[in-house]
Amino acid sequence: MSSATLRRLERVLLMVPWLLEHPGATVSELAERFGGSPEEVLRDLDTLGYCGLPGYGGGDLVEVTVFGDRVTVRMADFFARPLALSVKEAVTLLLAARALAGVEALPEAGPLARAADKLERLLGADAAAGLTVELKAPGAEHLPAVREALDRGRVVHLAYRSESKAELTERDVEPWTITAHGGAWYLQGWCRLADGPRDFRLDRVRDLEVLAEPAPRAEHAPAPPVYRAKPGDPEVTLALAPQARWVAEWLVTDQVREHDTHLEVVFRAATLDWAARLVVSLAGQARVVGPEELAQRAAELARATRELHAP
């Protein structure tokens, strides 16, 4: 299939309704708006001038006039409207609109909700009912401030509790982007305390202040905020009961072994403390296979919690 021709056709079907509404548009403007070089646009307009209703006589052909660099199209009422959205196009737009309309902290949320309503009408409301995008995640209350810092290019000051070390730190961060990943919001940027790129989960940000100091813009989009094992990070093996299988999907695992009664996962943890709290929070649905030190730490945390809850 000659996809180049189809792309040209797509462009013509889009360009003609625009030209009918905007007679006298310039060739360079058309090229910029609809893609392609001015030469390509002229070639397509030339072709269009040979098209029309069967009969192809004087009153049947599309009238294309190029005067200087200004273009006028007439006798093309059949192309007065753009082609209707394909299901794919409508669905893709609707997904994007619904996703961000749900993030109330964003200034676009209101217009997106209205746009989503219109897209549903285009698509048929029943059909659209089966598409659900849920980006609800804790920490969203910081989104407006982060967004402001990004839009104005300002450094932010964070009071942040890292999960791996379980301690609260204060740091200045040059923000690059806000990212939703794995059911959480992240601020990604250059951390001046760590002197390196870092990802901060917004639900672990206690306080966030936008400073007056300008921040340099990101040169390129950062990689997704996933944990990347560093040399020396401890390797951990857990046996997961069926109810805790989701952990295997949520972690970045090195190995997953299926057993009759459980799933064994091998992964690397940022710290053993973090892994111990994970094991405790799974409340018996995960058993430590190794290392022994992890089993001991988890047991210590459990004993302390039991004592705290003495009758």
């Binding site: 299939m1 079907l13 889009l14 269009l48 040979y50 098209c51 029309g52 209703l53 059949f78 753009p82 082609l83 209707a84 959205l85 394909s86 794919k88 409508a90 893709t92 737009l93 997904l95 994007a96 996703a99 961000l100 676009e108 217009p111 997106l112 209205r114 746009a115 219109k118 009408r121 285009l122 698509l123 048929g124 059909a127 009912a129 089966g130 598409l131 659900t132 849920e134 804790p138 967004r147 990004l150 509790r161 301690e167 806000i178 059911g183 959480a184 639900d203 672990r204 206690r206 989009a221 094991v279 405790v280 929070s281 409340a283 047991a299 945390l301 302390a304 919690t305 705290l308 809850h309």
Partner: protein, 313 residues
């Protein structure tokens, strides 16, 4: 003749005809199809028809006689024209940010441009937004199309540690939750509703039937049963005390403000939707959060922690 010219002429002819055009009419009347060899014409027309349909041009096939022996083709202008539901400049700008942020700009660009043209908007290029939600996923569009048009799909599905299996599914819903895409549908071979992670579908997704092949399922609630989520139920309330270093984290989950305690801990009222998840949440702070009331939840935490303590006490 330029193929573009032939395609444009075909669209115009099919759109402007009152009665469906038989292939013979097309060959005779539409510029570009005047081949001597009927077979060559036929192949050319079939290819053009398929390509136009793939582009979204709604070419309909209609019977020309009561027996359906002869068919003709036409384009219904009502289905061709983008409906007059106009988008405001604000909405289009927001959509443009949204598709960028969702990582769908490549796939949504053509649709967005149609809406812009229809609205007569002259949008400046939007700078890349500083928000990313990464909704793009393999197979998403083809599954969305199948779901909307109610077309059964067939694909190979691979669970971890298992060989890929062929599945045939009526796609009822696509759900993005906790950062993942799931297809929720009725599995033909298992005769049951299942959820499939899109990133576990191997190879390609094929249509296994025509549009409208199954009835829509309006029991959206069952989606929650398949894709784990908060269980619906009567939320109750628990009073907890939080250690100073985690009090602010607990405050996030709390209803209303905290009450300071003499030992430096802070007390909060926290809604409990699902007891199991609540216990897990308390344990994740171990030992920084204490459940005060109700006694039953306090006992559950004690029992769970005791089982993990491993000293038999």
């Amino acid at each position: 003749m330029d193929r573009l010219e032939r395609l444009i002429n075909l669209v115009i002819a099919l759109r402007e005809t009152r009665t469906p055009l038989a292939t013979a009419d097309i060959r005779e009347r539409v510029a570009g199809y005047g081949q001597d060899d009927y077979e060559a014409f036929r192949r050319m027309f079939e290819r053009d028809k398929a390509d136009l349909r793939a582009l979204g041009v709604p070419i309909e096939t209609q019977a020309l006689d009561p027996w359906g022996d002869r068919v003709g083709y036409r384009i219904d202008p009502e289905r061709y024209d983008l409906p007059r539901i106009e988008f405001t400049a604000n909405e289009l700008a927001a959509l443009s940010v949204a598709v960028e942020a969702a990582g769908l700009a490549d796939r949504a660009g053509s649709g967005l441009r149609k809406l812009e043209v229809a609205a007569g908007q002259r949008l400046a290029g939007t700078p890349p937004p500083a928000v990313g939600v990464g909704l793009g996923a393999p197979h998403l569009e083809v599954l969305a199309e199948a779901q909307v048009a109610r077309i059964p799909v067939r694909f190979a599905y691979r669970k971890p540690g298992e060989a890929a299996e062929r599945r045939t599914v009526d796609p009822h819903a696509l759900v993005h939750r906790r950062g993942r895409w799931y297809l929720v549908g009725d599995d033909h071979d298992r005769a049951a509703r299942r959820a499939f992670r899109l990133d576990r579908i191997a190879g390609t997704v094929a249509f296994a039937g025509g549009p409208g092949a199954f009835e829509p399922a309006d029991d959206a609630a069952r989606v929650d049963a398949v894709v784990p989520e908060t269980q619906p139920g009567e939320p109750q309330e628990a009073a907890v005390a939080a250690a100073p270093d985690v009090a602010w984290l607990v405050a996030r989950a709390a209803r209303g403000g905290g009450r300071a305690r003499a030992d430096g801990w802070t007390c909060y009222d926290v809604p409990v939707v699902d007891a199991e998840r609540f216990v897990s949440w308390v344990l994740s702070f171990a030992p920084g959060v204490e459940v005060l009331t109700p006694a039953e939840l306090r006992a559950r935490v004690r029992t769970a922690a005791g089982a993990l303590a491993g000293d038999g006490a």
